[in-house]
Symmetry: C2
Subunit: 97 residues, 2 copies
DNA sequence: TTGTCAGGCAAGCCGTCACTTGCTTATTGT
DNA sequence: ACAATAAGCAAGTGACGGCTTGCCTGACAA
């Protein structure tokens, strides 16, 4: 259910993960963890990032594909296109009773 | 610092408030409370909605104008236009937190 | 003035969330 | 087979967020 998109975007760490995947798609968990540490100064545990990725995957913002013992994560921007346009219908906003 | 936009959008009640303001702009606190109760079945206290409006105002998603003892709330969609396009572009405009 | 109405301030309760720690599973290399 | 690597599962903790309750301020009307 794509109402979790807002909840998924609420955390700054998850937004940084999306930034990293937007920069380079198809990263594994350890790659994301390494890049978050070096480029964003976020020294978090592996499980922390794993849980963040689970939230992003539940919100369908990240798609995963398994390959052996690796699990690669791909950014999916489809849910993002809907959320902003929800309130951007500013045509009849000046309707006072 | 309108990176609180994501946090403001995380709550479903606040999204309903934005829906109401998108439908009819310039409502007061009691008007919003009445419409949330009737149209969304949300029977919340006045302070609850007041705190939600404070969060929305801090995120600059809602602008307010005082008029006597009334305080009218107007929807401001400017912060919304940035959040989706953050990941819809190829190059990363990464900063913020 | 007094009473009522719209809104604000502050403390507290309670659930959710982010993160950790520990253990387990599955895949690959030697 | 064994060890190392990539990831998953689960319980526990600390903090933050949403909502309530109670009291207070300011604005209008009789």
């Amino acid at each position: 259910m794509p109402e979790d998109v807002f909840k998924a975007l609420a955390d700054p760490t998850r937004r940084h993960i999306l930034d990293e995947l937007a920069d380079r798609n198809g990263q594994s968990l350890f790659e994301i963890r390494a890049r978050l540490a070096t480029k964003h100064g976020l020294g978090m545990s592996r499980q922390a990032i794993s849980q963040h990725l689970a939230v992003l995957e539940a919100a369908e913002l990240v798609r995963t594909r398994r390959q052996g013992r690796y699990k690669f994560h791909d950014l999916n921007t489809a849910p993002l296109e809907r959320i902003a346009t929800r309130w951007l219908r500013t045509d009849a906003a000046e309707d006072t009773q």
